[in-house]
Symmetry: C2
Subunit: 372 residues, 2 copies
Amino acid sequence: MKIAILGYGTVGRGVDSIASGVEGLEVARILDLPDRCEGPRMTSRYEDIVGDPAIEVVVECMGGLEPAHTFILAALEAGKAVVTSNKAVVAAYFEEFARAAEAHGTALLIEASVGGGIPWIASIQKARRIDDVTMFSGIMNGTTNYIIDAMAKSGADFAPTLARAQELGYAERDPSADIDGIDVRNKTIITASVAFDVACTQDVPVTGIRNITKADMELFARHGRVVKLLGHGLAHDGAYAVAVEPMALPAASLEANVPSNFNLVTLEGATVGKLKFYGQGAGSLPTGNAMVQDVLDFAEGRRPSYRFADDLASDPALLTGSYVLRTTAAPAGAEPYDEGAWLVNDITAEQASRIYQDSCATDPTTFMARLV
Amino acid sequence: MKIAILGYGTVGRGVDSIASGVEGLEVARILDLPDRCEGPRMTSRYEDIVGDPAIEVVVECMGGLEPAHTFILAALEAGKAVVTSNKAVVAAYFEEFARAAEAHGTALLIEASVGGGIPWIASIQKARRIDDVTMFSGIMNGTTNYIIDAMAKSGADFAPTLARAQELGYAERDPSADIDGIDVRNKTIITASVAFDVACTQDVPVTGIRNITKADMELFARHGRVVKLLGHGLAHDGAYAVAVEPMALPAASLEANVPSNFNLVTLEGATVGKLKFYGQGAGSLPTGNAMVQDVLDFAEGRRPSYRFADDLASDPALLTGSYVLRTTAAPAGAEPYDEGAWLVNDITAEQASRIYQDSCATDPTTFMARLV
């Protein structure tokens, strides 16, 4: 089967090196910028790929919204399957892509967009053959997990740890997509869409970990807790809710013990119970592996369908809980939690997000975490 | 698709209740003892099932070697697919079953034989489409994990905790298959056969947790470690080795934090890295879920093949490590580890198993764990 790779960066090279070792797969064309094209496989003209009837699968590793959105749509409309690791473009255009794939008798495969090498999307779809998925949650961003874990192990504060992560290539030069929770937001939208069979395009309450300090981690440690950034969602009784927020988890939970840049994602179904999946959430080879697995699934005839059929209503009240804010002025209705930190009970993730933003207006260093 | 269930105990009832809710599946016949047969679906005559051409899948939930072995073989020879949760019979007759399935153009599906509801066997087979699996390890027995976890949480010693597990139905009246590691041995043989593509029928070094005491757990806790019972295996350079043994793991590892009767299994491949899977390793609904997933895979055309083709040699030296023995007399070559406990470095799992048995001859209360 002939495939084409769009973008020859870290992930594209990973796909190329893995696919080249798999019998029956041939990386026939690679799209990159004109000044980076070397050898007969590489081209800077997308028409060479989308117009080539011999190419059956387009593997999109460019990232970003455009031209990825246009290229993916054009490939699907040409009847080619699309495999993508691009969470931003899938979160933004999931329904449009899925409908185009169905209309043109081909497939959209998105395993690598969440959880890197972890077989997460396929596992959700498999679970849904028997169970409704009623809950998901997970550490879905390796960069922020690396930062928090390194702070805990080294005793260093946020800024030098972020700088170190940038040196190591774990964090981007502009880290905001990671530390402000935007990356997890995209992965949470994709997961909710697959897990709950819903067109999850609503505004998701998102709180990041930009303001976490070593002192915050020590404060929560005194209460037997470890902070991690998670995306999560619940669905029952015709309603669903999702959010992205720092959580202060029991120190003996699996999530609290996830090291370095690993991911850990959980789903729950009525008969299977809780299933958890752990692995490399990013990186050239794990992400490349997930994309080649998608290509092989397609080659074996798998055509995942995303119907967005469940008429679930968004109901923020499903995600009600208790939140701790470390901030100078006590939020309304708060009680003392620890020195300089306040506890607000029985609020939704959406309300918590607003209280956090209000507190940041007074004290821009405010940190907030949900108690789990 | 019409299926038949052999054995209507905990697992058989789970399969029945789950399959009844899945469109396209019909539990047409159920085999049980004559005095337990009620209603038109139930029969005590296996001929009613194996001789009925309308039945496409036989779901074996009887457990034990006979008549399960005979019934499975007869079903495969009649061209029916077999789904089984029976680790003892698969570990003993895996190659015979797989060859019969292939010869008669049908399938043997064994997801539920290891890890209950965890998609473990399917994940290994999926990983192997791209990577050689070079390592696996896991907490594969919920009963012993429950006992160890309950001892740690309650402060009670082994005997009363085992009695409590028996009361709750987590442990059998004869607990030896669990606490002596026989159940994990069967699951380790099955996992190695699938992961390494080898006919793993050799004698596996097996050490159980029958002799663990509260004091042993406290001793390892002073060294920052938690004891769990694991099966594990390695394969590289044309050789492989497997073993079942208590391991003293870092307290911050995921394995050390697996609660109650849950399982956690790990595989490693060159490109995907380490993947870990966590879930209910037993129970009516999780095990029933895995079996119905196998039925659905078969209905969708999946025909897993087990070739036992890799000509790997058994090489115990692959599993060399350091072991701690709590016993009265110092084993040969041991150095002191802690009060009443000895450290033996650079021995294989096989040698460790022999040293443990020798020590037990002198001190029948001896406990041993591998340092990880």
